[in-house]
C-alpha cells in the first residue's frame, strides 16, 4: 500500500514538473485534472487514514468529481472559448521554470528534513510533494502572463495545501470541516475566477494580464 502511495506522489511531482514545462494550455488543464484526481486519492493510502468512514469516502468521491472533472472541464471550456493554445512568452522561460521546479523539490526536501522532528507519522515524500506543489503553484502564478494559467497555479497551490493538510492532520473530528472548506473554496473561488476570466476575455479579447496593469501609482 505504502509503495502505491509513493507512486501516486511521484506522479503528482511529475505533474508539477510537467505543468511547469508545458506551454500548451489544453495539456496544462489535462495535467491538472490528473493531479487533482491523484491528490484526492492520496488519503486512501495514508496510515492514519486507514479506517475510512462512509462520510469521508463520500467526500472523497465528491472531491474527485470536482477536482478531476468539474474544474478542469470548466477550464477546458474557458481555454476553448478564448481560443488560445499557448502561453506566450512567460516571464520566466520554460527551461528555467523546469529548473526552478527541481530546485523547489530540493528546497522542499530540505525543509521537510528540517521539520522532521516536529512531524507526526513518517511521510517524508508526501511532505516534499506537498510543499513542492504549493510552491510550484505560487511560482506558476508569479511567472506566467495568462490569467488562465494563474488560475491553474492557484489550483495547484490549493492541491498542495490539501496535501499538507492530509499529511499533517490526524483523522479527527475536525477533518471533515477542513475538506469541506477546501472544496468550497476551490469551487466558488474558481467559479468566480472563471466568470472574471470570461469577462476579461470579452473586454480585452485576450486573457493576458499585460492588459491588467493599468491600475497603479
Amino acid at each position: 500500500m505504502i509503495q502505491l502511495a509513493d507512486a501516486f506522489l511521484a506522479v503528482i511531482l511529475l505533474s508539477v514538473l510537467l505543468s511547469l514545462a508545458s506551454n500548451r494550455l489544453k495539456a496544462l488543464v489535462k495535467i491538472m485534472a490528473l493531479q487533482g484526481i491523484m491528490v484526492s486519492l492520496i488519503p486512501l493510502f495514508l496510515a492514519q487514514h486507514q479506517t475510512l468512514e462512509g462520510g469521508a469516502l463520500l467526500l472523497m468521491q465528491v472531491m474527485i468529481l470536482i477536482k478531476g472533472l468539474l474544474i478542469p472541464g470548466m477550464l477546458f471550456m474557458a481555454v476553448k472559448r478564448v481560443s488560445i493554445r499557448r502561453e506566450i512568452e512567460p516571464i520566466i522561460g520554460y527551461h528555467a521554470s523546469l529548473f526552478t521546479g527541481l530546485m523547489l523539490i530540493l528546497a522542499s526536501a530540505f525543509i521537510t528534513d528540517r521539520l522532521q522532528v516536529a512531524m507526526p507519522g513518517n511521510q517524508v515524500l508526501l511532505m516534499i510533494t506537498a510543499i513542492t506543489t504549493l510552491s510550484a503553484g505560487l511560482f506558476l502564478m508569479m511567472s506566467r502572463r495568462k490569467a488562465i494559467t494563474q488560475v491553474i497555479g492557484y489550483l495547484m497551490m490549493e492541491n498542495g495545501i490539501y496535501l499538507i493538510g492530509t499529511a499533517l492532520a490526524k483523522q479527527t473530528h475536525t477533518m471533515y470541516v477542513v475538506e469541506f472548506g477546501v472544496l468550497l473554496d476551490l469551487l466558488v473561488a474558481v467559479m468566480v475566477m472563471g466568470i472574471i476570466l470570461n469577462n476579461i476575455n470579452s473586454a480585452f479579447d485576450d486573457v493576458d494580464t499585460g492588459f491588467l496593469e493599468e491600475l497603479k501609482d
Binding site: A118, P120, L134, L138, M141, A147, Q150, Y154, M157, E158, I161, I164, G165, L168, A169, K170, T172, T174, V177, V178, G181, V182, L184, D185, V188, A189, V192, M193, I196, N199, I200, A203, F204, F211, L212, E213, E214, L215, D217
Partner: protein, 475 residues
C-alpha cells in the same frame, strides 16, 4: 439564535434577487434595520449564538459586529439614493451582494471555530467581488481580478496556517474543539513551533485581506473601483473582519507565551503599512485611492497598537471603531464628489467649499477626524497608542509611527485642501441630495458623540476584548 445576524441577510439577499428593484431597495433598508436590531439584542444579552461549537459572542467579535451593522445601516440609506441617481443597471445583483456581504461579515464577527472563521472570510471575498465589478469597466475588471486572486492566495495561506494550528494541537496531544474559545484555554500547551508557523501563515493570509503592507497591493485598486457604498463597506467593515482573524490568533500566541513574537510581527507590519501608505498618499492623484491608502494606514495603526500592548490596545480598539465610522463617511462623501464632478482626479476637483458645500463639510470634517483632530475619536486613539508605545519603550517604532503620521497628514491635507479650496473649471453635474449627504454626517456625528460619551457597555466590551492580551487602562 444570534446566528440570525447572518441568516437574515442571506434570506433577504436571496429574496431581493427575485423581486423588482424598487422593492429590493426597501428590502435592503429593512434588512439593515433588522440586522442592527438583532445585533443590539445580542449586545443586550437577549440572544446568544445557538451553535456554540462554531459561533460565540466574543467581545471583539461583538464590537466588530456592532460597527459593521451600524455603518451598514447608513450605507444602505445612502445606497438607496445612490442607486436611484446613478441608474445602476444591475441593481438586484448589487442589493443581493450587499446583503450577502453583510451576512458573511457578520459570520466572521461571530465565528469561533477556526475553519468557520476561515470560510466566512473567504466568503466575504467572493461575495464582494461582484460589488467591485459592478461598473463593468475595464478598470473595475482589473481591480476585481487582482482582488480575487491575491485575496484567494492569501486566504489559502491562512488555511494552511489553520492546519498548522490543528497540527500544534495534535502534536501536543491536546484534544479540544478547534475553536478559539477552547484553544485559548489550553494555548500554553500547544506545540510552540507549529503554533508560530500557524500564526505566520494566518497573519500573512488574513493580513492580505486586512490590507497590511506588503500584501496590501489589491486594496487601493479594489477600493477605488468599487461603487462608493461598496467601498465604504469594504473599508469600514471588511478590513475590521480580517483584523479580527489576525487578532484572534494573536490572542492564542499571547496565551501560549509567544506574545512578544507576534507583537513584534504586528508592529513591523503596522509600521510598514503606514510608511507605504504615506509614500502613496503623498502626491496621490486619485482621491478614492488616497482614501484607500489611508485605510491601509489605519489598519497599520491598529496592528501597531495591538502589537504595542497595554494602553495602546485600548487605543487600537477605539481606533477600529472610529476609523470605521469616519472612513465609511469619507467614502460616502467621495461618492458624492464623484457624482458631482464626474472624476476621481484630484486636480480636476476644486472649490468644493463653494460649489459643493455639504460634501465639503463632510469631507473636511472626515479628513480632520481621520488625521486625529478632536472632536473626533481618532485623536484619542492615536494619543493613546503613542503614549502606549512610549510606555513599552518602543522608541524607534514610535518615531517611525509619528513620522508616517505626519507624512500622511501632509499628503492628505494637500489633496483635501486642493479639492476644497482650489479653483476648478469643472462643472458640478449632480446636486447634493440630502439623502446622500446625511449618512456621512451621521457617521461623523457618531464618532463625535462617542468622543463625548462612550457607553459603558462599549467600554466594558473593549476592555474584555483586550484583557486577553494583557491590554488594560490605568489612570
Amino acid at each position: 439564535m444570534l446566528e440570525l445576524v447572518f441568516i437574515v441577510p442571506i434570506l433577504t439577499g436571496i429574496i431581493a434577487a427575485f423581486i423588482p428593484v424598487q422593492l429590493g431597495r426597501g428590502v435592503l433598508l429593512v434588512s439593515a434595520v433588522l440586522h442592527l436590531q438583532i445585533t443590539l439584542m445580542g449586545w443586550l444579552g437577549k440572544i446568544s449564538p445557538a451553535a456554540t461549537g462554531y459561533f460565540n459572542s466574543a467581545p471583539e467579535g461583538m464590537l466588530v459586529l456592532l460597527v459593521t451593522s451600524f455603518i451598514f445601516l447608513f450605507i444602505s440609506i445612502y445606497a438607496v439614493s445612490y442607486m436611484k441617481e446613478t441608474q445602476m443597471n444591475n441593481e438586484s445583483v448589487f442589493i443581493g451582494c450587499m446583503l450577502f456581504f453583510l451576512a458573511s461579515m457578520s459570520m466572521v464577527a461571530l465565528a469561533d471555530h477556526l475553519i468557520v472563521l476561515w470560510i466566512a472570510i473567504e466568503a466575504t471575498t467572493l461575495v464582494s467581488a461582484p460589488l467591485i465589478f459592478l461598473n463593468r469597466s475595464k478598470a473595475a475588471l482589473e481591480a476585481t481580478w487582482k482582488y480575487v486572486l491575491i485575496c484567494s492566495v492569501g486566504i489559502a495561506l491562512a488555511l494552511l496556517g489553520t492546519f498548522f494550528i490543528t497540527l500544534s494541537m495534535d502534536l501536543a496531544g491536546v484534544d479540544v474543539p478547534l475553536t478559539f474559545s477552547s484553544l485559548s484555554a489550553v494555548a500554553a500547551q500547544l506545540n510552540p513551533i507549529w503554533l508560530k508557523a500557524g500564526f505566520i501563515f494566518i497573519i500573512i493570509g488574513y493580513g492580505t485581506k486586512m490590507g497590511l503592507a506588503p500584501m496590501h497591493t489589491w486594496l487601493p485598486d479594489a477600493h477605488s473601483q468599487a461603487p462608493s457604498p461598496a467601498s465604504a463597506l469594504l473599508s469600514g467593515a471588511l478590513l475590521n473582519c480580517a483584523f479580527l482573524g489576525v487578532y484572534k490568533v494573536h490572542t492564542l500566541m499571547y496565551g501560549a507565551g509567544m506574545g512578544d513574537y507576534s507583537s513584534q510581527v504586528l508592529i513591523a507590519f503596522g509600521l510598514i503599512s503606514m510608511v507605504v501608505a504615506g509614500v502613496f498618499i503623498l502626491n496621490q492623484s486619485d482621491y478614492k485611492r488616497m482614501l484607500a491608502y489611508s485605510s491601509i494606514e489605519n489598519m497599520g495603526i491598529i496592528a501597531f497598537g495591538i502589537g504595542i500592548g497595554g494602553l495602546a490596545t485600548y487605543g487600537a480598539m477605539l481606533h477600529l471603531v472610529h476609523h470605521s465610522l469616519i472612513k465609511s463617511s469619507l467614502f460616502l462623501s467621495a461618492g458624492n464628489i464623484l457624482m458631482g464632478y464626474g472624476t476621481k482626479q484630484v486636480k480636476r476637483v476644486g472649490n468644493m467649499a463653494q460649489l459643493f458645500p455639504k460634501s465639503f463639510g463632510s469631507l473636511f470634517a472626515g479628513f480632520a477626524g481621520i488625521s486625529g483632530f478632536p472632536p473626533f475619536g481618532i485623536f484619542i486613539s492615536e494619543l493613546l497608542i503613542i503614549i502606549g508605545a512610549f510606555q513599552s519603550g518602543q522608541y524607534l517604532s514610535v518615531t517611525i509611527f509619528i513620522f508616517s503620521l505626519v507624512l500622511i497628514f501632509a499628503g492628505a491635507a494637500r489633496i483635501v485642501m486642493r479639492m476644497s479650496f482650489a479653483d476648478t473649471d469643472q462643472e458640478v453635474l449632480v446636486e447634493e441630495k440630502m439623502l446622500r449627504v446625511l449618512p456621512s454626517y451621521a457617521l461623523l456625528l457618531t464618532s463625535l458623540a462617542l468622543c463625548v460619551w462612550l457607553p459603558d457597555q462599549l467600554y466594558q466590551t473593549i476592555l474584555n476584548a483586550i484583557s486577553v492580551i494583557g491590554g488594560a487602562v490605568h489612570g
